[in-house]
Amino acid sequence: MLAGQNLSLVYRDAANDVRAVDGVSLEVKEGEFIGILGPSGSGKSSLLYLLAGLKAPSSGEVRFAGQALGELTQDRLAEFRRANFGFIFQNHFLINHLTSLENIYAAGDQDSAVLLGDLRVSHCRDKFPWQMSAGEKQRVAIARAVVHRPKVVFADEPTASLDRPNADLVVDCLRRVTQGGTLFVVTHDESILKGATRVLRMKAGRIDAGG
């Protein structure tokens, strides 16, 4: 369903090249829950950006449902991502002048209000981001990522800025609303990967042999 073939991402600076992702290949089937673990700077988030089509690989190819993402124009790729992928960032990145419901609506208009109920943030539907707690904001961000029923959801350290009870609640919600779909979760916290079909461990831009 989603495949990365020999993916590399190289950042060039004045002194030398930094290989954030270095020759990673993987194939993911529909409905899989993939955890990606690794220390800071190991390339977890970069791999996620490549697989989600948010960054173009320096070499290699990402294919989803037979479509090579690199073959799409910028606008077509954006539309393709919007139709198939959802992305949750470490920081909620909600738009400050929009209410929760409007933030979700900006991504897709299907069952926004119902989704807020599923994520236990119905009471926040008319609140602005600055009127909500960190946990509430992250759950609204999850709603925004899944509102258009994407086939794959990418979550980049979704609980990093939350305390334990909030983190558990967010993970619980995330698992619930992505049930049946493919889910990638990048994290430092292995405990949130309970039930993962696979856990990939990254080190220096590569997937560790044991992963």
Binding site: S45, Y49, L54, K55, Q74, D75, A78, E79, R81, R82, A83, F85, G86, F87, F89, Q90, N91, F93, L94, I95, N96, H97, L98, L101, E102, N103, Y105, A106, A107, D109, R144, A145, D156
Partner: protein, 377 residues
């Protein structure tokens, strides 16, 4: 629900859009007020050339009198309805750009009635000048402009700063679409009554048959040894000065439009920088750059339209106040509606829109959402 509409953004970010709206509104208002006033003054002065739609003045070039044979020839022309012997007489009118001479038509009583009838003027108050007297009848606009009332006297004998030799008295106020004034031909032509008569050049009022003024003017201009003062000359005299001033203000408006567009472009760029997270996240969740560009275009267009409408409304209100309180009471019949200033002011939001959007477009094209998200994350 339209969360990404200009309306949603505008009403939730009033303080952010206010500086641009205020600057644009103020400049549009300024352009509308200045150009409306100038255009209005130009048109109000052109009113004083209306009499030349009916007749043309002819003067001798080398002498103070015109040859009788020439006058007979003019009278016989098929486009001529009537030739009226006249003399030079004028009042000093206070205008916004200083005192100007306003010519009266010196005529015999029957000719006076005829001339007034041709331009649709009526006696509103007082009486027409009696033959052989220094009486004059003036149009109400002239009276208002000078702040005069019936019985007012003027001339060098009354005020040494005046330009018209002798002493004259206003005995009648005229009304009608064409500002005119009349005085007694007999008085001005009689050296025993008016000491300066010999010095006054003969001027002949050649009245055209209805609808044949162009033909008549072409004929009069073909004559030798006469000076012709027709509609074209009268309009030229009036508009030359105004057109220069209007040209200067149009130039100032263009400079203003350029500078304000630059300022608006820079402000827009600052706003864009402030909203970079928002654009990055919208790109990341699958909005196309084209859609974001449309969004920025729409927001800017809404802001420009609002500013223009406010500026025009304010400008018209201020102009209406100035017209009603200052110009009309002074006998300056400035028209209310002026399309030209509105069209010129329209250039402001249009140029500002293009400039503002162009600067943002450049940044939007290069925007990499991941780099923003990583930096903020």
């Amino acid at each position: 629900m339209q969360p990404l509409s200009p309306w949603t953004y505008g009403r939730r970010n009033v303080r952010k859009i206010l500086p641009t709206v205020i600057i644009l509104t103020f400049v549009v208002m300024l352009v509308v007020v200045i150009l409306s006033t100038l255009s209005g003054l130009r048109e109000s002065t052109l009113v004083y050339t209306r009499e030349f739609d009916e007749w043309t003045l002819v003067f001798p070039k080398r002498d103070t009198r015109l040859p009788k044979t020439l006058l007979a020839e003019i009278a016989a022309h098929p486009a001529t309805e009537r030739v009226i012997d006249s003399r030079n007489c004028f009042v000093r009118v206070k205008t916004l750009i200083g005192p100007m001479p306003f010519n009266l038509r010196a005529a015999r009583r029957e000719e006076m009635d005829y001339l007034l009838n041709r331009v649709g003027a009526r006696l509103r108050e007082g009486s027409l000048p009696k033959p052989g007297t220094s009486d004059v009848a003036l149009h109400e606009n002239i009276m208002k402009a000078n702040g005069w009332a019936l019985g007012r006297e003027f001339g060098i004998d009354v005020d040494e700063e005046d330009w018209m030799p002798g002493r004259f008295k206003v005995v009648g106020v005229l009304e009608g679409p064409t500002p005119v004034g009349v005085c007694s031909f007999e008085f001005l032509n009689n050296p025993l009554q008016y000491a300066f008569s010999a010095k006054l050049w003969e001027r002949v009022v050649v009245v055209a048959k209805p609808g044949r003024i162009v033909e008549l003017n072409a004929y009069l201009r073909s004559l030798k040894d006469v000076k012709v003062y027709d509609k074209t000359r009268a309009v030229d005299d009036v508009v030359q000065g105004f057109d220069r001033i209007i040209l200067v203000f149009r130039f100032i408006s263009i400079v203003l439009i350029g500078v304000v567009s630059l300022v608006v472009g820079l402000i827009n760029n600052i706003f864009f920088a402030q909203r970079i997270d928002e654009f990055a996240i919208l790109l990341a969740i699958g909005h196309t750059k084209r859609r974001l560009f449309r969004m920025v275009w729409g927001e800017t267009a809404a802001m420009m339209t609002l500013s223009w409408v406010l500026g025009v409304a304010l400008g018209i209100a201020i102009f209406a106040g100035f017209r009603g309180l200052v110009l009309l009471p002074r006998g300056i019949p400035v028209p209310f509606w002026h399309l030209g200033p509105l069209i010129v002011s329209l250039a402001l939001p249009l140029v500002a829109q293009v400039f503002a959007v162009a600067t943002v477009l450049g940044r939007l094209r290069k925007l990499d959402p991941v780099s923003i998200i990583e930096r903020r994350g």
